[in-house]
């Protein structure tokens, strides 16, 4: 092979690899992105059953019911609506009524939300950022840190 041909082979190989990687990334995105919704969004738009979403808001006071074994059901609210959620597993340490929460999962055909993960982070004042932003817009909630400063 001449110098030029060698160089061309290398470049073609590299470009081909990058192309494959880009396609792979696009495919992976289409498979695994979850959009974020709050209960008031769900009142307006319809999410098809089986589509993976993140649902965020506040855990409605008095809505937490522990069922059989480790199944827990509760309602997520943001003032503009409230969505019942069921979850099987151990809830995070900071899961409490009236606190912010983000759950990830799908609606089943009967429009019940089944969460397979419930997120809560590691700060007693923690409010998931997506939830905090929206609640502030709606005036339901104030950042305690901003309030004290």
């Amino acid at each position: 092979m001449t110098r030029k041909q060698k160089r061309l082979t290398v470049i073609a190989g590299g470009v081909g690899f990058i192309l494959v990687a880009v396609l792979l990334v696009m495919f992976a995105f289409s498979q695994s992105i979850a959009y974020f919704y709050m209960p008031s969004d769900l009142a307006k738009t319809n999410v098809a059953p089986g589509t993976r979403i993140r649902l965020g808001g506040l855990v409605e006071a008095g809505s937490v019911v522990r069922g059989e074994g480790s199944t827990v059901s509760f309602k997520v609210t943001d003032g503009g609506g409230s969505v019942p959620v069921s979850y099987t597993g151990i809830l995070p340490d900071l899961f409490r009524e009236g606190q912010g929460v983000v759950t990830e999962g799908t609606f089943d055909t009967a429009h019940a939300f089944k969460a397979d993960s419930v997120l809560a982070k590691h700060d007693e004042n923690y409010m998931p950022r997506e939830v905090a932003d929206r609640l502030k817009e709606q005036g339901v909630w104030k950042d305690p840190k901003e309030a004290t400063r």
Binding site: M1, R3, K6, T9, V10, G13, G14, F17, I18, A21, L24, V25, F27, A28, F29, Q31, S32, I33, A34, Y35, F36, R54, R66, G69, S70, T88, G89, I90, L91, D93, L94, E104, K121, H122, D123, E124, Y126, P128, R129, E130, K145
Partner: protein, 662 residues
């Protein structure tokens, strides 16, 4: 009073850093040795000032001086001493101080060990280090000053975040920063080379030890962080593809690529421009990581109290250094002469493939990490990109790389013999497949992919030994002679073999855990029994206990196998008194490389409690592999030829294998 002296030392450090960032570079331009000699002196002074300031802060924490805002917010007089001290960097301000301390430490090390560097290069490198130092000193002094006073001083502190009250905090951040910030040296060398407009193989030889050291520490830091998250958070996961984890993983990937491309440059004078670019990118990713973690654009364990001015400040630092370096690169790089031709099938070709895959996968991780941020800024839509994305894209991209790893060392420089390498590899591949399927059957089946995955791990381990085997010429020479040759192999050969072997060990752990892990979530009452991984656990009940700054409910489990009691394990839920914050302390039992992981959930009204039990086969291999990689890094670092100060600019012919006297 001492606090004010510490604060003042930091201001003095800024002044020193300003001097170090202006005068030496002028000296280097004019060939003025006196100005250039200022650089090492100023750099070491800078380190002493920052170290003093840092010790003052540590002292304030040790004696619980709550008149400092930072100490009051993050410490408590009842905490054990070790957490008081590690608490120094368990918050934003202190963490930035540790960043700065590490940065000045590396600058000082370059000043001390770089005596043999040409004067101008040394002056330029130290100048660039000083620029970074100035930026971070300004950041600390103006937005994150740990020396703010409170008046009147409160009597008691607000306690350290309980999740951070763990020995992991003593090890994880310092190691991670030694890695993260260590790459600044590579960056400075790259920028200095661009300023001088001259670069050669000797440059690569000077940069490689620093890259290797930073890489080794970063490997250790990431592994430690992963293990810490695994045992502390009580979720049983060891990697979440959390943006903050990605922030440390991207420099690691780029640093790994840099390590390999610097090798090509040192040995063959090829890939010069690429190596310089990679050095810039690696540290840029470290800076980006600092921005992601510190600015509060992301919520995670690592994002402490957030303040928008900080984010903007770090973003400014980020754009200045990354933008500046790339502009300089675009301007100067065409002047750098490239050299060293090679055939696509050769050692260089293999290393180029390594670089291609590593950089593309870095880009993949970067895309997945930043896409939600970008989309939200542009359209306001909020999305999350989770583990499935990374597993699919990054995971698939890694497979060709892992397959290629054992080939590289078997190919000759310039023009390699693929067929010859294949002949050497196929035995290894066969052995690996046999081993993979043997373990697969021992585990009583599972997906066939698991067997192939295990075989891939074994293939990497055996493959790393193959290179040493052929270099020592075992099998052809008499054993005694071959063994003598084996002992005489350069340390760096052992280093790279160990690093590749560690990669294989980690792959084994990942495959075993992802495919053979079992998980049970169940409600248990005292006396109830559960099975996991061939062990049976009996729940004996809950008991209250009181720690120095927490109260806890401890669940006790008796573990038996085939009817005989083998161990017992406690798992607990703690409430930290000062913050009223609950945490889960998982109970972990180790059997060989596998672990039984028990974590408690919520108590039920009828006296039972939700318990989550995992059987994690071979999980310790994940971090064990990282330890082997780290050992490989240190073995390589101890190679004579890599000693930092030793090489001179005239590249002397290096004796490859040191033959024993016969």
């Amino acid at each position: 009073m001492i606090i004010e002296i510490g604060h003042y030392a930091l201001v003095l450090a800024l002044a020193t850093a300003l001097i170090a960032s202006i005068l030496p570079v002028i000296g280097a331009r004019r060939g003025d040795t006196a100005l250039m000699d200022l650089a090492p002196l100023a750099t070491i002074t800078l380190f002493c000032l920052v170290a003093f300031s840092f010790s003052v802060l540590t002292w304030a924490y040790a004696v619980s001086d709550f008149s400092l805002l930072n100490v009051w917010e993050n410490s408590h007089s009842l905490m054990p001493m070790v957490y008081k001290i590690t608490g120094v960097w368990g918050n934003h301000e202190g963490s930035m101080m540790l960043w700065l301390l590490t940065l000045t430490l590396f600058s000082a090390l370059v000043a001390i060990f770089g005596r043999n560097l040409p004067d101008t290069l040394k002056a330029n490198v130290l100048t660039v280090q000083a620029w970074i130092t100035v930026a971070f000193l300004l950041f600390i002094l103006f937005t994150s000053n740990p020396f703010m006073r409170l008046d009147p001083a409160p009597a008691e502190g607000q306690d350290l975040n309980p999740v951070l009250q763990d020995f992991g905090l003593a090890i994880h951040p310092p190691l991670l920063y030694l890695g993260y910030v260590g790459f600044s040296v590579c960056f400075s060398f790259a920028v200095a080379a661009l300023i001088e407009g001259r670069i050669d193989a000797a440059w690569a030889r000077w940069v490689r030890p620093w890259t290797l050291a930073a890489w080794t520490f970063l490997t250790a830091g990431i592994a430690m962080g992963s293990y810490w998250a695994y045992y502390e958070l009580g979720w049983g996961g060891w990697w979440f593809w959390d943006p903050v984890e990605n922030a440390s993983f991207m420099p690691w990937l780029a640093g790994t690529a840099l390590l390999h491309s610097a090798l090509v440059m040192e040995k063959r004078e090829a890939l010069k421009i690429w190596t310089v670019l990679l050095a810039i990118m690696t540290f840029s990713l470290s800076l980006l990581g600092t921005f992601l973690v510190r600015s509060g654009v992301l919520t995670s364990v690592h994002a402490f109290a957030t303040d928008p001015s900080r984010g903007i400040f770090i973003l400014a630092i980020l754009s200045f250094f990354i933008g500046g370096a790339f502009v300089l690169f675009a301007w100067r790089a065409p002047q750098l002469k490239s050299g060293g031709l090679f055939a696509p099938i050769s050692r260089e070709g293999a290393l180029v493939l390594n670089n291609l895959i590593l950089t593309v996968s870095t880009a993949t991780v970067l895309t997945g990490t930043l896409y939600p941020l970008v989309l939200e800024t542009l359209t306001g839509e909020k999305i999350s990109v989770g583990a499935p994305f990374f597993n699919l894209s990054f995971g698939l991209l890694m497979i060709p790389l892992l397959l290629a790893v054992p080939f590289g060392p078997l190919l000759a420089w310039k023009r390699g013999d693929l067929l010859g390498a294949l002949q050497r590899i196929y035995v290894v591949a066969g052995m690996a497949l046999v081993a993979g399927f043997a373990f697969f059957y021992a585990q009583n089946g599972g997906p066939v992919l698991a067997a192939l995955g295990l075989a891939l791990g074994f293939y990497l381990i055996f493959g790393s030994l193959t290179d040493l085997w052929y270099r020592a010429n075992f099998g052809k020479l008499a054993f005694k002679i071959a063994f003598a040759r084996f002992k005489g192999l350069p340390r760096s050969a052992f280093g790279s073999a160990l690093a590749h072997m560690g990669l294989g060990v980690t792959v084994l752990g990942i495959v075993a855990v992802t495919t053979f892990e079992t998980e049970h979530v169940l409600e248990m009452k005292p006396g109830m029994r559960a099975e996991a991984g061939g062990y049976s656990l009996v729940f004996d009940g809950l008991r209250e206990a009181i720690g120095p700054n927490f109260t806890e409910e401890r669940g006790h489990f008796t573990v038996s196998r085939n009817g005989a009691v083998v161990a017992d394990v406690w798992s607990s839920k703690r409430i930290y008194t000062a913050r009223r914050m609950p945490t889960t302390e998982a109970g972990i039992l180790t059997f060989g490389a596998s672990q039984l992981y028990v974590s408690l959930g919520d108590p039920m009204t009828d006296g039972g409690i939700v318990v989550r039990i995992w059987w994690k086969p071979w999980i310790l291999f994940i971090w064990g592999g990282a330890v082997v990689m780290m050992i490989g890094g240190f073995v390589s670092l101890s190679d004579r030829r890599l000693r930092v100060g030793a090489p001179s600019r005239r590249a002397k012919p290096v004796k490859l294998a040191m033959e024993p006297a016969e």
